[in-house]
Every structure is written in structure tokens, then in C-alpha cells.
Symmetry: C4
Subunit: 215 residues, 4 copies
Amino acid sequence: MSVVLTRVHELAEIKEELAARDWFMGTSGNLAIKVQDSPLQFLVTASGKDKRKKTKEDFLLVDGEGNPVGATHLRPSAETLLHCEIYKRSKAGCSLHVHTVANNVISELYGDAGKIVFQGQELIKAFDRWEEDAELQIPIIYNYAHIPTLASTLGDFVKEDKGAVLIRNHGITVWGKDGFEAKKILEACEFLFQYQLALIQAKAGLLASTGALNN
Amino acid sequence: MSVVLTRVHELAEIKEELAARDWFMGTSGNLAIKVQDSPLQFLVTASGKDKRKKTKEDFLLVDGEGNPVGATHLRPSAETLLHCEIYKRSKAGCSLHVHTVANNVISELYGDAGKIVFQGQELIKAFDRWEEDAELQIPIIYNYAHIPTLASTLGDFVKEDKGAVLIRNHGITVWGKDGFEAKKILEACEFLFQYQLALIQAKAGLLASTGALNN
Amino acid sequence: MSVVLTRVHELAEIKEELAARDWFMGTSGNLAIKVQDSPLQFLVTASGKDKRKKTKEDFLLVDGEGNPVGATHLRPSAETLLHCEIYKRSKAGCSLHVHTVANNVISELYGDAGKIVFQGQELIKAFDRWEEDAELQIPIIYNYAHIPTLASTLGDFVKEDKGAVLIRNHGITVWGKDGFEAKKILEACEFLFQYQLALIQAKAGLLASTGALNN
Amino acid sequence: MSVVLTRVHELAEIKEELAARDWFMGTSGNLAIKVQDSPLQFLVTASGKDKRKKTKEDFLLVDGEGNPVGATHLRPSAETLLHCEIYKRSKAGCSLHVHTVANNVISELYGDAGKIVFQGQELIKAFDRWEEDAELQIPIIYNYAHIPTLASTLGDFVKEDKGAVLIRNHGITVWGKDGFEAKKILEACEFLFQYQLALIQAKAGLLASTGALNN
């Protein structure tokens, strides 16, 4: 049992930190952390809770199909299948799904292009890209209301043991070898998204001033 | 008395959380939670308090006309009639009124249209709209200085047991079956408003860059 | 002595709250609260402190000319004369000066006009303007480096017992009958400034989209 | 040893405060504080930690070449050489490097110009510039992936005992005679950057409205 308790503690800490940033607005978001590999078991947030609050019923243990392990009155998050997909297709140990204003706006703004690309940003190093001209691509997938379809669409982009996928107007899902790495990637993505939005506006603002001067 | 105390505790928790987000600027905002149905009695925030502070005089019990139940030196919020309207016209158990910069700007920006419409946003699910093409309409009403007129105007839009109405340059009023649902709706609305404002600016910014390139 | 202690406590609470909002960036800002009328004595923040920290040396007592009352190694804030001016020209009991990004940007944007005007905003009620068409004018004065000149320029606008004056690229100074009212006015101003900036950008953004559609 | 402990405490306090502002996104950022002059020894943040957490292994002592003093399993931050450069070229006692959205956007927006210039801003006084027409220049350098090259490029701009340098898309590095001054400068810069971005957008927004009226 001690591995489970350690993982509960680890995920609770992450939940508390993300809650402090208000990244669970309207009860959105769900978090998962792997407990064992074969058979696959992971902890996932219970459905319909206020994730700003800390209770003994925040997480439950599920199997590789997202079904509860053992008797429980808790229901796993409706989007548990997305976490299943990640653990099946990679060696990730933790996966996080959250909505922020910036990640949703970016997902809509670049949704038709199907991806957003960053280059020349120091924060890319959170993905272990260290070259000066390293490029980071974050795919943006369609937000299918049918969760199994959404999960399998996400699965097509789980090609490495850490990564990030935007779901159009439905937040971001990130994963990494453990809670530390998943959170690092989540933060780096949020930073890059906020940067991109602020840069677009600042550039347009400067352009407008210059244009006005030139007229 | 124990129902009252439970409700006091529930509303105090919500107040504390909204205060932490600074959603009571300039002593604005007021909160209510139903205690019993017949005759209708609900708790409402006392007038003229700093809602960032936690005291024993934060709330008082009022009846269906918004008058204090029992002797008290506290005055109910000047806008208590709006809460009365909600409890009379629906089965809501909690109603919240707060000012945020985003909700006020949205109320002005779309005020002439009388509503703002969201579609294709995951956060719409906070209103229990689950279809992929679900549409959410939030009405925007005129901000009558005369509170009974404002209350009855609001009342015309209280058609379901949960909902949200923007008052032009006067914040938002939301309601739900209990504190949990009312807060969920409040958060979802705030998220959608911030999203909308950020999207408008980002789109205009991209357009400006493209326009400049095409010239 | 007990009045002094009560006032120290009151001002310390305000300082703590404003610090939590990060309204003292770069050690900017200074706060004052009146202790007695004749002769005038008030508490003011000591110079060169990090106002995010709470110490026994945060405030000192000064007289109507801004000189320390009694022996102390503390120096009053360099801008103490502005507070003197307020207490001499009104019945205010508390005055607050803080820098925020929004108040500085507004002071620059409308600096040439010498004022910013708000109308139709609910938050105007923080200034006890209750009519539906109430108008709120906040003057914007030139930022003289010479503090006595700045103080006397400010003094010309201290016409009521509560109010607010923007100093161009130098924050806002507000006052009210006590700490509660001064803080209420400070918050209402900040809300209105953030609202104004967000509205300008949102309107321009919508205009750009519409313009693009019409071309 | 007591000087080391005092410095550890001082730097830990700064770390905690910057963490509360979320200025270490994606494990970015690193902090240093001088312990002694000859031979030079300073404390620096350990590599690969979550700087939001407070542990006994947050800092380690390094020498003038950035190598650990004494046996330790901790690795100094990969960018320790930048701090070495500052202590060698000035009498600074503390140096801080953090990423914020605003400092990164400013570094990109004005990167080609190689600097950003502020004038007429009260917050410039954090740099001890007191004249009414004081001008503050913050250089922006290229973000070399090769740390020794980056460090020596930064070194060319360490001309005073306090200062600030932006690294393009790689945050800001500031220094001052002690932790208090370094943090004051860091905050003033962040304020000025946020101000500049907000002003650019507000001016463009007003211009767009006026332009539309004139057409």
C-alpha cells in the first residue's frame, strides 16, 4: 500500500499547487499518476469535486480500462480514458489535464493549423530540447464530445515519454516520467502560451503606432 | 438552528474563496444561500462590510421580502431583492453576485445586443450542456438604479433552477441548486468571459500582422 | 497611547492587504492614518522599507509638517508632505498612495487631458454617487520631482473629505474618512482603471474584426 | 558559518517571495547571494529543483569559477557562470535571474534595438535615478546557448554595482548591493515592463477608435 500512499501524496501536492493558481475553474481539469505497470493501475481525480478543496476522496485507483480497482462510491473523472491512453502508449508516470484561459485561446487561435510551434524560447528546455535552434511543436486536436474517440485521437500524438497536446477549447493534457516532470512541462506550456498571446498583442500595438506615424 | 449554521459555514467558505480572488473590489458584491422554503428564509451578506474580512456579522437571515428575520442591527445588502426574485422563481438554493473586470467589460461590450452567446466551449458543461454543439446564452440587462425595477427585470430571466445574468456595468448574478453549483457556474462564466476578451484581442493582433504583411 | 496603537493596527492591516496584491513594487507606495486633529499628528510609513514585510518599524508618528514626533531613527516617507496636505485641507482620516500598472497607464493615457471621467459604472458608488447618470472625475496632475510643489499641486484637488488624484506615471493618492473608506475608494479606482484598459482593447479588437469583414 | 546561515536565510526569503509570484515557471530561474569576497564565495540555487518548494537542499556554496565549495551531491545551476561574472565585475552582493511573461515579451519586442529605454517613470527611482528627466536603459543581449559566451556577453554590461540585463527570450538578470536592492530592482523592472506592454496596447486601442471615428 505504501506506493499508493506516496503517489496520493505526490498528486495531492500537485493538485494543491494548480488549485492555488486557479487552474480548475468550474470544476474542470483532472489529474492522474501511475502506481504500477502490470497490470496497469493509476490514481485519478474523482468526478464532480471542487479541486480547490483537499479531502480524503480526491483520488481513486483505476485499472488500464479506467475502471475502479476495488469497491468505491467514487466515480473516476469522465475523461479517465485519456490518461489510460497515455500510460499505454508511453512510459509516462504522471499526466495532467487543465484548462487555463491562455491554453484555450491558443487552442482556438491555432486550431485550424492543427499545431503551435515555438522556437528560440528558453522555456523549451523544459522539454529537454537544448539546441539553440530547437523547435517545439504542440499538436491541437479536435474536441470530440465522445470520450473514447477523443482518447484515441490524443493517443496518436503520444509518441514520447513526455509531451503535451492541446484539445481545441478544451485545455491541455501533458505527461512526463513523474509528477515533477509533468508539472514542469505544464508550467512551461502555460508560460509559452501567455508569452505568445502577449507578444501578438504587443507587436500589433507597436505596428499600429508606427502605421499611424507613417500615414 | 443547525441548518442555519451549516448554511452560514457553506456561504462563509464561498465568501472566503471569492475574496481570495479579489472579486469584492470596493465592497461590491453580495451572496445569499437559502435556509428554508416555506416561508422562504435565506442568509444574505450584511451591507457595507469589507467582504475580505471574516467576522461574526457577515450574514443575516432575511425573509422572502428581504426583511431581517428577528432583531438585528445588521442591514441586508441593498440588492437583497435580486436574491428574493431568484428564490421565488426557481428552486435555486444559492445565488451569488460579484463584479469582476471581465464580467463588467463583457456586459458593456455586448450590452446593446442584450446577450452573449458561447458555443463549442468545454466549460459550457458547467451548465450541464453536454452536446458537442451546445450553445450557452447569458442575457445582459439594463442596470436600473431603482432596485425593485432591477430585481423584476432580472426575474424575467430566471427560467431555470440554475443560470446567470449579466447586469450592464454591474457584475453578474448566478444561481444554482446549492453553493457548489452556483460557484461552479460563476467560475465557468468568469473563465468564458476572460477567454472571450483574450480571444478578441489575439485575433485582432494576428489580423493586424497579416494585414501589414499583405500591404 | 491606545489611539495610536489602534491606528497602527488599522494601517498595518491595510498594508498587509495591499502587499498581498503586490501594490508596493520596487518599494513604492506610502500609507498614512490620522491619530489626532489639533495639533495634527498622523502615522506614516517609514522610508526605504520593503512593505511586503511586517515589522515593528513600519510606521512612525509625524506632525502637520511631516516631521517625526519624538525621537526616532526612522525617516518618514519622502512623500509625507502629500499626506500633510490632505489632512490640512479635508476631514480625511486616512490617505493611501500606491502604484499599480493600471493606475500608471491610465495616468499616462489621459495625462494630457488632465483627468479621466467615468459614468454609468456601478463601482462609482464607492464615492457615494448614487444617481443613475452619476459622473466621476479623477484629476491627473503633473509629477513634479520637487515634493513640496507636488504636494501643493495635489492640495488644489483636495476639495472633499474623500477623493482620488492620479499623479502622472506616479501612482494614485486616495483619501477617506477612515481606513475602510480610503481602501474602498482605492479598490474602486483600480477596478475602474483595469476596466477602462480592458474595454479599450476589447472594443478595438472587435472593430478590427468588423473592419476586416467589411473590406 | 553564521554568515552563510544568514545569507541562506536571506536568499530563502527572496526565493519564497518570487515563488509566490510564480516567477519560476517550468523550473526556470536561479538566484545567488555573496558570502565572502576573497576568495569569492557565493550561494546559488541547486540545479533541477522546483523552486516553489522549500528544502534544505535549495542552495549550495560555490567559488569564483562556479565550482562547489566542499563535498556535495548538489549541482549548481547551469547558469552559475552569469552570477560569477557579476560578482567579479562589481561590488554587488546579490544577483537574481527570473523569467516572467512580461520580461520575455519585452526582450523579444525590443531585442533588435538591443535595449529598452524608460523615461519619466517614477519607478526609475529604484535605480537611484532621481532627476525629473532621468533615463533608464536596460540592455538586451543575445541568448547564446553556450553559457560561458552568454556569461561574458552579460559581463560587458556589468558596469555598476546595481543593474539589470535582459537576455532575449531568456528572462532578466538583476543585481544590487544586497538582497533588498536586487529584489527592489527586479520588481521595478517587472513593473516597468508590464506598464510598457499595457501602454502600447491601450494607445493602439485608443488610436483604432479615433481612426474609426475619423473614417
